[in-house]
Amino acid sequence: MTNLPQTTSNNPYPAGKGRILQHKGMMIGSLIVIFVMLLAILAPLIAPHDPYYQDLLNRLKPPVWDTRGSWDHILGTDHLGRDYLSRLIYGARISLLIGIGAAMISGIIGTFLGVMAGYFGGRVDMVVTFLITVRLSMPVVLVALAVVAIVGGSLQVVIAVLGLLLWDRFAVVMRSSTLQIRSMDYITAARAVGCSTARILMTEIMPNVVNNLIVIATLEIAHAIILEAALSFLGLGVQPPLPSWGLMVSEGKDMMLFEPWLITIPGVALFALVLSINLLGDGMRDVTAPENRN
């Protein structure tokens, strides 16, 4: 009797637990992201002080490792005497909220446009491709700066503006993924048995592009966090007294030659979070890529 060759798994989520655990980058990224998320969620329990409480008599106290520092304020105090560690912890909330919020808005817009363009092709594809080209021709930071300068910065405005500006990568990837899938046999079969377009899109197309969607989403979360930091650094992002990491860098900038920790601490936090999200995204791409499935 001839042994039949083993068929590949039909599981659209083939990333095995072992493969994930072997991916060092992904593991490191995941651990840092989980750590920051825990900080954000548990901020009221972990933060040693009220991040908004000002003590003007205790301004610019250095961190504990400096000879002038104390354990009362482990990471020191800012220019208004607010506890830097508490602001850093609460700042994680803002960064993640903006990153995830903006990525969700842009993900919905980009995925809708990309899947429509890829599935229907023709004029729909032309229109969407034109929209993507228009969007790509606009410098994101400049447009965001202009909009926020006109309407004023706030958490909601920053999320909305970034969400409306970062959908292009979703649209491009979703379009090309859908283009590849739409001529597959199972899509033709679904059409042949009379499935509606909506059903085909939701049950046949989406599950097969969702891996790409997640990878792009992680990259865009990191992108949005960096952009928020840039806007806040320029004074046009999250408004005080909300503790944003970009705002903390901006507020510490004037003293960077004298108290470098003021910008180093939020800068390192920002670097670590963005790096870890990117590592996580890269790892997810690697473990879900077709070449790793067998």
Binding site: H79, I150, Q239
Partner: protein, 507 residues
């Protein structure tokens, strides 16, 4: 482990090492003073820029008919030898006959008549308009005698003639116009311009022919180079490395650290700029808690002005109770005052029907830290703010469009030492006026148009007292400027925030 100090010096060293500067190192040995400013001038022509740096440079290149002594605030003839009020709308000047412009052109009545009539013509677009829109024309009464005809009574005329209104050479300016003057300025001032790199670098040399009778005095330092360096940390790095030897607008915390280092002289001077809170008392924004005087008084009692001045503003700044800078003519601090008293503030809020406070939009455009400190004070009495920090132009437009019930602003009065430059600007029915109070406007009108000093003072006092009593605007504190410079330099700042480099000397 590296100490904090080591890290700081490493950072400074690294920054300094990457600096590219073609200018010669500044020191007294080559008699060159290198100065950094943070703003690019749109034009060096005195009448086509509004930046403070332009005012500073203007005082170096040009002279006015009069000069205000910054120590005594007395108006002293400069290009004029004497002046007299013929009536409340007519001024006559006798001019000096021994003055020459930098290009050799003799100064006489024709230059004054040309300059004043050129500026009076709105078609020429001299700015800011308020500096030049108060006279009708100038007439030549002799080679060295002119008459200035005012549109209406304008008591602040002497202040303007001793500051922003400077005299141009009629023949040269008539030939080259604003463009030529911007590239090759010619005046009668203590310094002449040797090169202009627009927006980047200006070089000056002491004018040896400067008239000895000038109250400004002859310049001592031979050469001055003014460079634009926009970023404050880069300015500091250049100062530390010796590329620059005079900077200003140094932040209070930076100034304190520089002083602690002991390598540079740090001086502080109060300026005419004051901070204020502006409330929508008259309902321009619509119905809101600021319409109620008890709420405005509650806010006045909630702000810890002394604490903020001591911790953040620092320097020579003082708390001000009246909507003007104390040295300005007509300014009095003898008005109703509001001490820091959160309990009283809460009581007033309760009386006004806001026992649990309220939320209100709050705008600011500068000093975000001061704004945040005030927000914290307001939170303490139950008022929460929807805070928006805008660029100045956006802030100004929003406020002037009536779209702000509550904002934190500042006003420098263009260094005009007269109450009309601030109180009348904000409270005489203009775009920034949110109270539109008939009594205040009536008194300001009297003060702005009378040439009787006592009448003016009395009218301004009534207006300022009413503003304070009704808290139409709440004055906060005066501002100050920190100057940091090489220890080789002897330099004294002045309260009008106009550094006079012609009075500086090498030690």
């Amino acid at each position: 482990m590296m100490t904090n100090k080591t890290i700081s010096f490493s950072l400074i060293g690294a920054l300094a090492a990457t600096m590219m500067y073609s200018a010669a190192y500044a020191d007294k040995s080559n008699d060159t003073l290198n100065i950094a400013v943070d703003r690019e001038l749109e034009s060096i022509d005195n009448y086509y820029n509004t930046a403070r740096e332009g005012i500073v440079i203007s005082r170096m290149i040009w002279d006015g008919l009069l000069y205000r002594d910054p120590a005594t605030n007395e108006y002293i003839p400069n290009l004029a030898t004497s002046y007299k009020w013929v009536d409340s709308k007519t001024l006559q000047f006798d001019l000096r006959s021994d003055v020459s412009f930098h290009n050799g052109e003799k100064f006489d009545a024709d230059d004054v008549v040309f300059t004043m009539n050129y500026l009076a013509d709105p078609a020429n677009g001299a700015k800011p308009a308020r500096n030049v829109n108060w006279w009708t024309n100038a007439e030549k009464l002799g080679d060295y005698k002119v008459q200035l005809n005012l549109k209406t009574e304008f008591p602040a005329a002497l202040e303007f003639l001793s500051g922003p209104v400077v005299m141009y050479p009629n023949e040269y300016y008539g030939k080259v116009g604003p463009e030529g003057m911007a590239l090759n300025p010619v005046g009668t001032g203590p310094y002449m311009v040797t090169s202009v790199e627009p927006g980047k670098r200006y070089r000056f040399t002491k004018y040896d022919g400067y008239h000895s009778s000038s109250p400004k005095g002859r310049a001592s330092i031979g050469k001055i180079v003014i460079r634009t360096i926009a970023e404050s940390n880069t300015q500091l790095a250049e100062l530390f490395s010796g590329g620059i030897d005079w900077i200003w607008k140094v932040k209070p915390d930076q100034a304190q650290r520089i002083q602690e280092q002991g390598n540079f002289t740090v001086k502080n001077s109060s300026t005419m700029r004051i901070g204020y809170l502006n409330f929508d008392a008259s309902g321009r924004y619509g119905e809101n808690p600021m319409n109620d005087v008890r709420v405005r008084k509650a806010i006045a009692h909630s702000i810890n002005r002394d604490g903020i001045v001591q911790a953040l503003v620092k320097g020579e700044s003082i708390v001000v109770n009246s909507l003007c800078f104390p040295s300005q003519f007509g300014c009095t601090q003898d008005v109703p005052t509001y001490d820091y008293n959160p309990e009283k503030a809460k009581e007033l809020l309760r009386d006004a029907g806001y026992p649990d406070g309220f939320e209100i939009p709050f705008l600011a455009y500068r000093n975000r830290d001061y704004a945040e400190a005030m927000i914290s004070n307001l939170n303490a009495i139950g008022i929460t703010t929807k805070f928006t920090y805008l660029k100045y132009a956006a802030f100004r437009d929003k406020v002037q469009d009536g779209d702000s019930p509550f904002n934190f602003g500042t006003w420098g009065s263009y260094s005009i030492n007269d109450v009309s430059a601030i109180t009348s600007h904000f409270q005489k029915g203009g775009k920034d006026d949110y109270s539109r109070d008939a009594e205040v406007m009536k008194n300001l009108n009297i003060g702005d148009t009378s040439v009787d000093l006592d009448v003016r003072k009395d009218a301004y006092k009534k207006a300022l007292s009413r503003i304070a009593d009704q808290v139409f605007m709440f004055p906060l504190w005066s501002y100050n400027t920190n100057y940091a410079f090489t220890k080789d330099l002897d330099f004294d700042p002045t309260p009008d925030e106009i550094p006079r480099f012609f009075t500086a000397t090498w030690k």
